[in-house]
Symmetry: C2
Subunit: 343 residues, 2 copies
Amino acid sequence: MTKTIAIIGSGMMGSALAFPLSDNGHTVRLVGTPLDEEIIASIQTRGFHPTLKFRMPKNVTAFLFGEMAKALDGADFVVGGVSSFGVEWFAREVLPALPDTMPVISVTKGLKDLEDGSMITFPEYLQQLCPANKRPLCAIGGPCTSYELAARQHSTVAFCGYDEGVLQMLKETFETSYYHVTATTDVRGIETAVAFKNAYALAISMAVGIKQSEDGLDCTLSYNPQAGIFGQSVREISRFIQFMGGQPEHIDFGAGDLYVTVYGGRTRKLGVLLGRGIPYAEARHILQGITLESVEIATRSARAVRKLAAAGKLNAEDFPLLLHVYDVITNGAKVKIPWEKFR
Amino acid sequence: MTKTIAIIGSGMMGSALAFPLSDNGHTVRLVGTPLDEEIIASIQTRGFHPTLKFRMPKNVTAFLFGEMAKALDGADFVVGGVSSFGVEWFAREVLPALPDTMPVISVTKGLKDLEDGSMITFPEYLQQLCPANKRPLCAIGGPCTSYELAARQHSTVAFCGYDEGVLQMLKETFETSYYHVTATTDVRGIETAVAFKNAYALAISMAVGIKQSEDGLDCTLSYNPQAGIFGQSVREISRFIQFMGGQPEHIDFGAGDLYVTVYGGRTRKLGVLLGRGIPYAEARHILQGITLESVEIATRSARAVRKLAAAGKLNAEDFPLLLHVYDVITNGAKVKIPWEKFR
């Protein structure tokens, strides 16, 4: 049975999710945030998404934010398509407009760090903001870049949430021959795995920059150092998954996501510059205009681990790589991979 | 205190291990197998390793196999530097020539599959061949290409064995500012992790070839499919580590090794050709002259899992990717990633 889905947030990832939904014959209403007006105008007039750089598929209608009520009318569920910068806005402007039991599945990656250093997943955070609601809140994690999803490349993701029936409904609604969905109630494991990979993708990319600073920009890349940092990343992410009470085996999504982030993402550019010895502030300046959500997520993760370690809740020695990344991006420290502290 | 070490087998990896040993001031005696006579001649006359393409460091003396007794005289321990093709030869020709308690650390990767499909690590296999011996048998695993080790790039490896005192001695002897050693008694976990990555590196590379066959050789690579296969690889390797009785957390070495093999190794070439739709026999022909030890290791792993599944000792559904690789390389099957069987 076909469904009607409202996607709120027409950035690249929110919009890319329209592709499997449309391919499955569902009706998609894509609602821009107030920041997305140009995107919505382009889709409405030309059917073309200007940042994703794809013609939107059939079955998709675009709405300005002011038309959200119309888009929500008769919708079966909502996709939260905002980045982690927009979570508070989503909680304030969108959630109250939805029927109390309407499911929401969010693409927002990352964990939110609280004042005391503890971290919560976005489904848990949104739940806290609307404690009276019985809304099933779900999230999408896993290695999936928006432009490859829109190109209908095979992509594997995890849908996580606490209501198994809703998860199953969402899986059936989204799954196509190229969009492969694993449903799991391990919200903390999945969200931790995919949030933490951002900081570690920076660290692996730094190894590329270090080599370039030693042997020139056209040097042969070395893989032993990258692989060593990759292994330590897997170790540290696994430790934090366990600390969060998640299932250790969900490092599988973290490792795959780390892989795609090092090679397919913008995080690499920043990591390479840092590895070349360019201080963080200058590297950010060089990359200006690029919204580095991943840097924000990396900063949150590292800041939280630092606080938790300072409070004696975590052992700092278990996270030498993450804490070094923190020093580099918040204290302007020079990159120096702490090899001797690995394990 | 400096030591004297005999490395038996002067191929690329055996010889690369001379670099950290030499840098630590130890005396290295590099003994060629009967297949290594040209290498030994080159080192003896020019100090140059012709396949590793590095000048050998100081403190290294090269010996022909006929001179092994001289090389062993006064040695503290032996490094087994042969590939998995040479393990039986090493057991037959080298082990009996060593004092019964002289430690051996071997770079030989992979597991040996027995007739019934069960697999044993090389330290265990060598122990079976010399059951009366009390020799401490150790092995090296982890993401480390020989040419980058010789270039003194940071490399992280695991030394595994059952004698903690010997492991500690070996770690202290080898470890340098760039060669980072973790010592562990989890022989099965480490050896399984690093053996199995060969088959999975083929699978990830296939995704590259599939994309090329669809969009042309100069296409943009897609990373979602690679990352999805990477995640499934981590899942399947972790399962086999557990089946072998190893420690699941040693997937860290497997994941790092998988990463380096996809990007730094020859396995990728074969996987890409297979992904393009070229049958295995033809792909091997195109790559003739390249010794694909990794293919042999991949074949062994897949063959064993298939037998174990057939005997009901393993669930075939837990290893869809490995069993597909098996079909491709032994039955000439066309590449078709079993996405729907993942998880």
